[in-house]
């Protein structure tokens, strides 16, 4: 191998290792959630990929909605592929720019795997190539809006290609060219991010102030994963409606199904939030130590923040499923209680990054979601209050006596 190839391989290996690890961490909950949704839609209800593509071709509303949902879901993955600060030093090396951009762009493109599979199975190779490139371009533009005319043209051309009912060779080629342009735009924009924010006065109670700090972190830096979780929640409510309608369920059984699905999506959303917050917790450990903050305060604040995330997602699910299925007030409240409880449990179950094998957190959170859903199957709506009590107990009753790292 010549020197240039060796250099390119070394750069790609570093990018794949660092950015790929972060991308895998963010992608795991998305892929697990999509797998479950796909199992319900394509398994239980006999739908096929070409049916979904057919619906997208036939209705501009469905096409726009599904593209919007996917780009929102894929945006954090694309962001992870490009933005690790640890990789900025590579830019100072005497390496061709294309050598630096290519592995980032390849990772961002590969992150669209479920979208690629859907289009490949539903509409063929050309559509898969076009749709995956277009999704990567739009997600990149959502992360780093284009600042040069060429980038703007690429984004607009992609939007035009996406708005067409099906993928022709010209549209697919346009999408591929556009993603190359947008990759270069994003690569240049990544280190220049700056944000101005509104200030939120914090209360004087240590636990409340810390919990609100966590919520601020989620609102400012974890917004899109939360939006993605909301989209899942919407899909789960749709699945509850389909399941109840296709199987002619009684109101009680429909309530149990809705409680189980609410607990499941709350576990995934709150679990993702917990992993993010534990990272924040770990990086700022010196602040907690030097201010004499107790372990109890930290555990309570983390649990309160993740419980609120779980409760909010479950409330959204309860509103949608309650309306679609005509559920009772108790069945709606049970979903919210289940969401809060599972959220608090997710906050206690998550472990700081580096403490566990990669992927084990996703498995643990998925197991919590599945276990909660099964509990709802066994106990019906009463699983809601039970899960809430379990979450409360885990947060208030399992505080370490010493002052170790939270959840270690």
């Amino acid at each position: 191998m010549d020197v240039a190839t060796l250099r390119s391989t070394a750069v790609a290996r570093v990018v794949f290792t660092v950015a790929g690890r972060e991308l895998a961490r963010r992608a795991a909950p998305l892929y697990v959630g999509l797998g479950v949704t796909a199992a319900v839609l394509f398994g239980g209800n006999g739908m096929k990929a070409r049916n979904v593509i057919g619906i997208m071709h036939a209705s501009p509303w469905w096409r726009g909605g599904l593209w919007l949902a996917w780009v929102a879901a894929a945006r954090p993955l694309v962001q992870a592929a490009f933005s690790p600060r640890e990789l900025f030093f590579l830019r100072s090396l005497p390496v061709a720019r294309v050598t630096l951009i290519a592995p980032h762009l390849a990772l961002a493109w590969l992150a669209q795997l479920p979208w690629l599979i859907l289009h490949a199975r539903g509409a063929g190779t050309m559509a898969a190539l076009g749709a995956t490139s277009a999704a990567t371009t739009l997600a990149l533009a959502a992360c780093w809006p284009p600042r040069r005319l060429l980038g703007l043209v690429a984004a607009v051309a992609t939007l035009v290609a996406v708005s067409l009912p099906s993928w022709h060779a010209e549209a697919a080629a346009t999408a591929v060219l556009a993603v190359l342009v947008m990759g270069s735009e994003a690569f240049a924009a990544v280190p220049e991010r700056a944000a101005r924010d509104w200030r939120l006065p914090l209360p004087h109670s240590p636990s409340l102030a810390l919990a609100m700090t966590h919520l601020l972190g989620l609102a400012r830096e974890h917004r899109l994963p939360l939006l993605r979780a909301m989209l899942f929640t919407t899909a789960a409510a749709g699945a509850a409606w389909l399941g109840a309608a296709n199987n002619d369920l009684s109101p009680a059984s429909a309530g149990s199904l809705a409680t189980g699905l609410a607990a499941f999506v709350a576990a995934l959303g709150a679990g993702g939030a917990a992993l993010f917050l534990l990272d924040v917790e770990r990086r700022a450990r010196w602040v907690w130590t030097t201010t004499g903050t107790t372990a109890a305060t930290r555990v309570w604040a983390l649990g309160a923040a993740t419980a609120l995330v779980g409760a909010a997602l479950a409330a959204w699910h309860a509103a949608l499923s309650g309306y679609a299925l005509g559920l009772s007030a108790f069945a709606v409240a049970a979903q919210i209680l289940a969401g809060a409880g599972v959220g608090a449990l997710a906050g206690r179950l998550a472990r700081p990054r580096g403490e566990t094998k990669p992927g084990s957190d996703a498995l643990r959170i998925a197991a919590l979601g599945l276990g909660s859903a099964m509990l709802a199957g066994l106990l019906g709506r009463w699983a809601g209050p039970l899960l809430f009590t379990a979450g409360l107990g885990a947060t208030l009753g399992s505080v370490p006596r010493e002052d170790p790292e939270v959840n270690r």
Binding site: A194, R199, L202, H204, L216, G217, T289, T293, D403
Partner: protein, 206 residues
């Protein structure tokens, strides 16, 4: 004011960093700790701040163990990296530290010295090293701590900020406080009239 360190030991990765280190400071003032790179200055401050746990020995401030969480509220610490949670605004960070220490925010006079308005509106992660250090310094002064632990405090500061830092350390000393400063900056140490110590082979020497 009495800071008493007795037979402190700390190893990192099997390598001894602090070895039987002892120090007594009986009166308010600034103490500058010099030493080569890797001598253990940051480790010493991290141990006193409670970020690292000492392998052995005692550290007391006015008779109370520095390793107790309650005593840590008497400490203000600015680490070398100066990296508070990046998603917060400097003002929110002050609110958080004030809540955690159960104390009031620093008075406007101190914030003015640190040119606080220039920091507002931007997240900590978007600030320069010098701006983050000013943020950490303001937070370290919350609760009028008896002991200030400053790790390379002049790194990244411009001339105005350095003058403000010197003024704040001097004010802290006048108020009866003690500052322990790990630094390479001889001029700064001269400016704040610090007692000088050198950390060599894990021990402090005059």
């Amino acid at each position: 004011m009495n800071l008493h360190l007795e037979h402190l030991d700390k190893q990192l990765g099997g390598r001894p960093i602090l070895c039987d280190l002892s120090l007594t400071v009986d009166e308010p003032g600034a103490v500058a700790v010099f030493g080569d790179n890797g001598a253990g200055k940051s480790t010493l401050l991290s141990v006193l701040a409670g970020v690292l746990r000492a392998d052995g020995g005692r550290a007391t401030l006015d008779g109370a163990s520095l390793f107790e969480p309650a005593t840590r509220r008497q400490i203000g610490y600015v680490p070398e990296a100066a990296d508070p949670p990046g998603h917060l605004l400097p003002d929110e960070y002050l609110d958080l530290v004030a809540a955690l220490k159960r104390a009031a925010r620093p008075p406007a006079q101190i914030l003015d010295m640190l040119d606080w308005p220039s920091l507002s509106g931007r997240r900590v992660a978007a600030l320069s090293l010098g701006q983050r250090r000013r943020t950490c310094l303001a937070a370290a002064l919350i609760g009028s701590p008896k002991l200030l632990l400053l790790d390379e405090p002049t790194n990244g500061l411009d001339a105005t900020a350095m003058a403000a830092l010197a003024g704040l350390v001097t004010e802290h000393t006048r108020g009866g406080g003690l500052s322990l400063i790990a630094t390479h900056d001889e001029v700064f140490a001269e400016r704040i009239a610090a007692r000088r110590l050198r950390l060599v082979a894990g021990r402090l020497f005059p």
